[in-house]
Symmetry: D4
Subunit: 248 residues, 8 copies
């Protein structure tokens, strides 16, 4: 499957014609595998320290399963977000480790679970309805080798619930805070800790929440300086960046 | 100045031809004084329990002073919002009680200070820059006869500052909460008390605050059920409604 | 179900080691019951004078019924908004007092109906299509122990309909005004009364109503100073705050 | 100034080679006068029954005066909107009938005042700050030969002021209703009359009025079916269309 | 059904105690018929010169049919917009004149067709997809007693199609111009005629048309001064106002 | 000023070690000149067939003049947009060919005027106020070596003005159409020609034009398929792309 | 089907009474064929160099097929966008060359494939989900007689994929760049080439992509001067303009 | 200045009555110093590892200088953003280390410069006009003890400039990427590195950039998973979070 060129380069490397640093630089820019409708990037794990993730939205079940199988030939793990139970059923027969997480609509195959974080990643969410997005963040962080601490339904209207988790909160290296409606939780959490807080607005709400716009704007204007923001409902992105921050 | 008609009605009332209830109903719908460029409503105090307020924005100094003098012929007090020092200077010579509040750009003449509230009105604001709007609310509540408790610079990023005011907060009949940026303070305060909370978004902030839109949306989507909202920077409106709620 | 700690505190209270005021303060900050997917706050009734309400949107029938049953073990009443007939059917077998209100999609169980308001709460709505939101406000106010006066289909385009209700309007302690489209009703009503008016914009309309945005903006910019606003379609919030205002 | 072609056509018309209808059709499509930076349309009066109006915004004083003089060579009247006192000063020396209206920043030269309307045009405005836009509408309607009835400061929060004008309102052929803030006045007026109502939103307001957007959306969503809308602050357009409707 | 009061007034009128003008004034403010879920305004025809129209959206088939039957007891005609074939089927059995117009989803019962316009109402639309809205305008104008001239699919990208209709266009007393996408047609038509143009933006388009917002903004900013605008897809409103303008 | 490397490469090229194609490829990727606060790209002329343009907005006079002088050491021409007369004054002393265009606030130095277009570029604008943006497009097209045909003040409300330019319009290889307000002109022009039309929305207008948003949306939704759009007021971009299209 | 008039004109042309140039001018303005619900423009091919395209959205299957058949009587080819398989099935029986393209939901009948471009049109898209829009552009460009080069899934997050296509990119006369999400691809591509780039934002994305608004705004603000933009998802428009640019 | 309570607690700590962990917990929640108009939080350095920053916008020169002096009594360093030269002049006389940075309008006093980062923080900006925001980020990161690498004017339209910095880019622990206009730079940089990227949209641009909204939306929708976003022009926030991530 790999083109002739890379075989040649590898041979040159083995024979000492190019040194290790050159070799690594070469691999970093190596092309990708072409499936016609998608170009799989097998070397992302090398470049980014993480296996390929498949964003299932807008892909057919067949496309998703085909891409997943190609990845699993080269990589032990795969994470498929925004997908359905059909993808799970089709992969399960080939990969016993395949799991389906119905709330977040995620399929995972995890055959190599290593831990490489400096500390824990904490994931806090405001309401019951925010749990699917929080779970997407949590599964992403776990498959990237992190220990995850979750705490759900601790919205700012019931501050005592949140404050009782202060010790847990302060034990983490980085926090992900998931909230819809007015999106106030990251500001409050951000004021209680001294680590980076990744805020995830969710589309939970109605009326003037405008599908998450209110929460998004609230988080971007946070008066806590340790808050950065990702896209509405982007649990994956939050889990991904938190993992990079927590990397040893 | 009053038309003949009202004189006749008053005589009828004195002589018992119309009873007290009819008389009151008559007055409630009585017309107004016409200054050509503005129609002063001398009976608003009767109808709404409050003297005329002058919204100074978009009015010339002359117009504002003229209206103020007409009101002060019939009513002991007046409140002029969004005005300037020139109005104060011109009124001060005639009305010794005239005061100027530079932060909120308010002029007041208070010649009759009565107290008629059931309890205290609490006014909390998130940051230093929100103080002008909070002061507009505070002066409004005071001129309407209320005891006011203020607490500024207690934003959610420093939760311990806010929590240390919990007893004060719980001693009030109604709260006004003023905040810009993400506008999270009303949600947090709303969760700590069991009285109505009037949220005032301010235009304080930059970038994606969009001149107060972020705070406004945040407050409208508050997860605390006891929160209602007024327009951006509308300290007067908040003070006015709080006074109605606090009325004995 | 209650942790050991609270038993100990209660004993201390009985034996006079802590006084009544301390006891009350303790209870106010007491933790909540953890159902994994939701944290029920049994003490909200103490803090806020109202039993738990369940916001049914984004919850499964099973989740909703489970939470309702837990609440009904501790509290006589429950209010479930934005839910469906299935929840009603499942609860009805256990709780004879269970009712379903199809227009507003609300389920109630009311086993203890007490009245504790200072006066009446008036609920006015502009058009036939606004009735579901008005009913949500009305049921909320009733379950919180208030006498409610409703008047529907009195939009501003037929002013004589509205004006004929002026006496009813003026007999209330607080008004809730529900309107979609241009949302002008609260301004007109606000000018006719001297009590607080809670405006509820609805998503009724089409085209440039942008799902209630036009009504929302209109209400926020009301020229009547006694108007505050809640989120689009938020009948519950309006009923809740009106009840707090009307509380004896 | 007229090209040879039109002279030829006119001769043909005189000699009966083309009949009156053809002649009129020819004139309707006749070209314009070219000033390099602007093309004056002398025949608009023929086509539209109205002399050229000059929209002063974005034009220099020199450009405006030059265009005005060209128009006044062919037409008795001119209307210059959104201009300044300098234009007035420069025109006044040549045209004694020149007037400046400082509130609306309009300059007029009216040398031929004819009346051609079927009835009166009524202009109602909500607040003092809306008067400049109302005056722009009023001057436009007057220069186009209409009798105008104005009534200012009759906002919906003081309904009795408005209702006392009901007879005046019903005496007009068409109404212009000018309002900022929530823009509710056209809906209320529209429900009281059975003639066309032209609604003019103004940029008067603050915060969530978003420079007139709230009023604009409110008017577009009016529940009164006889309401149409023009651009924010577009008093000229409203006066123009009202004149067309009122034309005998 | 009419209250005693009106009977008394009518007798007074017959006996000469009140004159015709007073009688008419009385009727104009007469109350409405109360169906619990809707208040029918039988006197709108008197006040506005038009029978009741039913806005079918957000009403159940039963509600719509019930209201229609009540109206048809007092009024010969009815117009039901945004409804479905079921309403037609249910009314057809009682009212032989009942018609269904599937494109615009309108049901009409016309038992008294009188003509009362000064001239013709012209209705022009830009594309095939705009026809339903144009038809709503057309049926409204017809039921209100006007002669209607329609011309569809004459968008500005094929100007020769439009220009070939210039004579028809100029034969009308008022024009309705319906367009989606960029909404340019009213500006072009407005420049070709000297009568009022009512612009109707439609939600036809995709992407950055934002469901009609692009067309709406375009029409509000028209450089043709004779253009006013109604809400997106509001064919009824346009037909209604055009009829008022065209009234003899 | 050129680094050693390029000298070496040039020598290799001269000696035939690398061929012409390799040489060109090398130059295309050649680095830029570093002025600390800006990186001048001397080879843009090679890559893009056009000398460096300086976008003056947000640059100080000193920065602008410094960059201009550096460019003029290597390139015969320069175009500075959105700048002021001070830049002109400072450059004029060194470069006699320096011109200032006050309407569009552009400074040009043109020392080598070659013509390389296939045909003419037509620039049409709707109103007098759009001329500055049209001039920016025109000067850009001219400095890039094109013959330009301009026609201003031909808005769609006076269609006969526009139609009389039809022959000119059809003589061009590509058209730039500049319009504010409703932005309808590109759709109309697009329907009259069979060449690409580049639409430039301008911020001309008021109220609901929202600083050019209305025109922008109108143009993006154009029913003429040959229209593409650039940013609001981006005359330069339009002139640039038109030049690329017209390139022989 | 053609009116008598055109026959007469053609005879005049044949007999030399009107010359070729007059004849062409005549045809350019010739009217269209009227199908009641649509006006087919048979001469668009003459005017615009392209057969009629049918925009299938908002048309019934019957309408679409009827229009298609009428076109195919006069023109060899037709392109139907945003349609469904039913249209294909109905046309296939009559026209053997009929094809259905399920990704882009396009039906084509191509009976005369000529090539008339100056060079190749390159179509680049960012992600797998953007392919349907890219295919719409590609089929449009092909049916208009162009050679097309496509390159999909070359988003900016994997720059090495894109850079490896640089030679292909530089071999084209004009580029179409299709991207959703942040829409950054046109800026990057625009910086690598010196030909016009037509940017097509797609509605691909979620949350704050607001159905393509983020990509649209990004492309309009591109820092590459050779970029123009079409509507969201408007692959057809991009293919159409690219063909005009590429025309020999 | 410290209250009696803390003295007592400190004595208890010294005498071993409370251990170190308790002591730290106590200090974390310690109150703040009250200046009436602002509450200074001296313990933020303990909690967040950073001295107090003063956000100068909306503060008077006097307020800013007063706060700064209070902070400098307890803390060696201070950072004042969005301020002016007057603040610098007033502080300079007392604090020799005081510096003013005119581009970013920042005043710093740095008396204790320690380095505590794990690696370098890289700051990349797209255009010359983005430098002020980049400098705000840079100064923040430096005062928090980090080594900073800056690279300005490397926008995506000149990709070779950016790619030549790839090694620098890959040598950092965390990157801050600052861009206005379309905001594409973070996506491209994010794809080239495997560390967290903090994207800062700037208000640089015009027209449809809507003061940074285009860049903000672009960054939130980035196809690079390692990107998080802060508010428009929020260089301080980016520098702050980057410092937390880089903390040893």
């Amino acid at each position: 499957m790999l083109p002739e060129e890379i075989k040649r380069v590898l041979r040159e490397y083995k024979e000492g014609e190019i040194d290790e640093k050159e070799m690594e630089a070469y691999l970093v820019d190596l092309p990708y595998e072409n499936l016609e409708f998608a170009k799989i990037d097998h070397h992302r794990a090398l470049r980014h320290g993480f296996p390929e993730v498949i964003f299932g939205q807008n892909k057919t079940t067949d496309q998703t399963v085909t891409i997943a199988k190609h990845i699993l030939q080269k990589s032990p793990n795969v994470l498929i977000t925004r997908t359905g139970e059909e993808v799970y059923t089709l992969l399960k027969s080939n990969f016993a480790e395949c799991c389906y997480h119905p709330l977040s609509r995620i399929v995972t195959v995890i055959r190599n679970k290593t831990s490489n974080g400096r500390g824990k990643i904490g994931i806090f969410s405001a309401g019951t309805a925010d749990i699917p997005v929080a779970e997407e963040a949590s599964l992403t962080a776990e498959i990237m080798g992190n220990e995850v601490l979750t705490c759900y339904d601790v919205g700012v209207a019931g501050l005592h619930r949140l404050l009782s988790q202060r010790d847990d909160m302060r034990s983490c290296t980085v926090l992900i805070v998931v909230a819809g409606m007015e999106g106030a939780l990251p500001s409050v959490v951000g004021g209680l800790v001294d680590v980076p807080v990744i805020a995830v607005p969710t589309s939970v709400g109605y009326g003037a929440s405008f599908n998450g716009l209110a929460a998004l704007l609230g988080m971007l204007n946070s008066c806590s300086s340790n808050v950065t923001v990702v896209n509405i409902d982007n649990g994956f992105g939050a889990g991904y960046v938190a993992s990079l921050i927590n990397r040893a």
